[in-house]
Amino acid sequence: MRPVLLIDFGSTFTKVTAVDLDEEVLLGHASAFTTVDHDIGDGLSLAMNDLEKEIGVLQYDYRLACSSAAGGLRMIVSGLMPELTAEAGRLAALGAGAKITRVFTHRLSRQDLAHIEANPPDIFLLAGGTDGGNRAVITDNAEALARLDARFPIIIAGNRDAVDDCEDILSDFETTVCPNVMPRFNKLNIDPVQKAIRSLFLTHIIRARGMTKASSLLSGILMPTPSAVLSAMVLLAKGTKREAGIGELFAIDVGGATTDAYSIAEGHPTDVSVVLKGLEEPYAKRTVEGDIGMRYSATGINDVIGTARLAEMSDTTEEDVQHYLTAISKNKAYVPTIDDPRSSSLDRVLASSAVGIASTRHAGTLEEAYTTSGIVYVQTGKDLRGVRHILLTGGSVIHASDPRSIAEHALFSEDNPFSLRPIEAEIWLDKRYILAAMGVLAERESDIALRLMKKELISLGMSTASHVYTKE
């Protein structure tokens, strides 16, 4: 036996997973609730106690971890135009697993700077201008940042003509210069920035946080949790040199505070009559819905869907919905039990709605345009209609009684036919919540991590969007 321990320091739960590398099996896993304001070591001790009760005390070969504790990796992005360099910066930060607290565009105002001074980020991403393009705005923003008292690492990834000046202006800060996130109009180049974020996370961010009790583990914290989840999904989709992946996939991670959507897919137009618009899309794309979650952000679901509709969907009353929302806002660790059918039903409806909202916001859209040459379709974002795998994960949904019906809300829907979500897909459930752990393990043992995922993720069968009209 060659056991290793994988830890996920979450903002809500600390999860531990033990894996035997020789037999390629999951030995056991446990999790403990930790409030955001406690030391993350507390949750780990509790989770380890539970794990040891299950599988005994083991001598682990190594311990690796990812973390989204203490608010996650907080980043501020500044770019020039909202839909161009600012968006490219945002995509880069999200893909690196960051929690984006603000995105600024154009020149930073006094108010913006006051906000940054009061809420300094873990990393600031300074972008703006294509290569050879606008250099005034990024340079002015660098000068404005240099006048702040707060200090934080800054990644400079804007117009290459301006980066040297920016670096000089920001000499009091720890700066990293990267190639432009948008070197040419609508051309993305986010990998270098993501590498820089990862490296700063390792060298600075973990140490800066009050992770004192877990200090013996510091060297093992490799990446932010969402980044681990994303790399697990890329591995699952693409495979390794020796082991095939399952192909392009669309995943929804329903959490307590946010709902994240991931697509590991090209998403190119499938028809020559489609005109593609907007910024290039990353192959591995992550979006975060900060207003959509099962506990901290359950009211956000209510805001989007409406109390009346939630009551209708769950076969309850509006009073029931309000009562339930109040109850879960008081007790974030609440898990509905079978003897409370009303709460179970509401929980399922909230989860389904979260999946529906997050998948719609993530997927690309088509628009019909009438031209002198007939109807033309304009595509913005990724076309995921041909993606054949949907993966559902998240502590709040993996124990649901009918996860398949929840996941099916990520499918194409005739209610919203211009939202380009999968038409037919195999539904997978991350029942034992292993994605983050496998993303971390993949750093050392990608083949084993992939085989474990194939073994442990549960297929719930094929689902097809109802009433799909296609040209064929």
Binding site: G133, N134, K277
Partner: protein, 140 residues
């Protein structure tokens, strides 16, 4: 190909216009002539031209229209450029920019009034536009 002259152009076909071939030819011709071209392709909105011009710090925006609705599509373009901080940017338009057989000098007058610096009739060879660009942008 001529050596780069350092001048940056944003080009594209405006509105619900899907004529994709001409803009490729212009892209090729302008690039050959030494310009740094950002080609937005077809079905380009005014906002797209402006966003691209700001990020790339373009010296000129060249609007193509081949389906006759150019006059509607171009309305308010200069004002939007001014609003976005692109005061004084060189603005060209060309193609089949209006419907039917209209007197071109009248058409030209109307587009001048809308703030376009140069207006090109149907069948203008790229060379003509290139010559005007070089003159207006002070290259050679």
């Amino acid at each position: 190909m001529q050596e780069s002259n350092g001048k940056k152009l944003v080009i594209g076909v405006i509105g619900a216009d899907v004529h994709a071939v001409g803009i490729r030819i212009l892209d090729f011709a302008f690039t050959e002539a030494g310009f740094d071209v950002t080609n937005l392709g077809v079905m380009v909105s005014q906002e797209e031209y402006i966003g691209a011009a700001i990020e790339t710090q373009a010296d000129a925006i060249i609007v193509s229209s081949l389906y006759g609705h150019g006059e509607l599509d171009c309305r308010g373009f200069r004002d939007k450029c001014d609003e976005a901080g692109l005061e004084g940017i060189l603005l060209y338009v060309g193609g089949n920019i209006v419907v039917g057989k209209q007197d071109f000098s009248e058409v030209e007058k109307r587009f001048h009034a809308m703030g376009f610096d140069r207006v090109f009739p149907p069948g203008t060879p790229p060379k003509t536009t290139i010559n005007w660009l070089k003159k207006d942008l002070g290259v050679e």
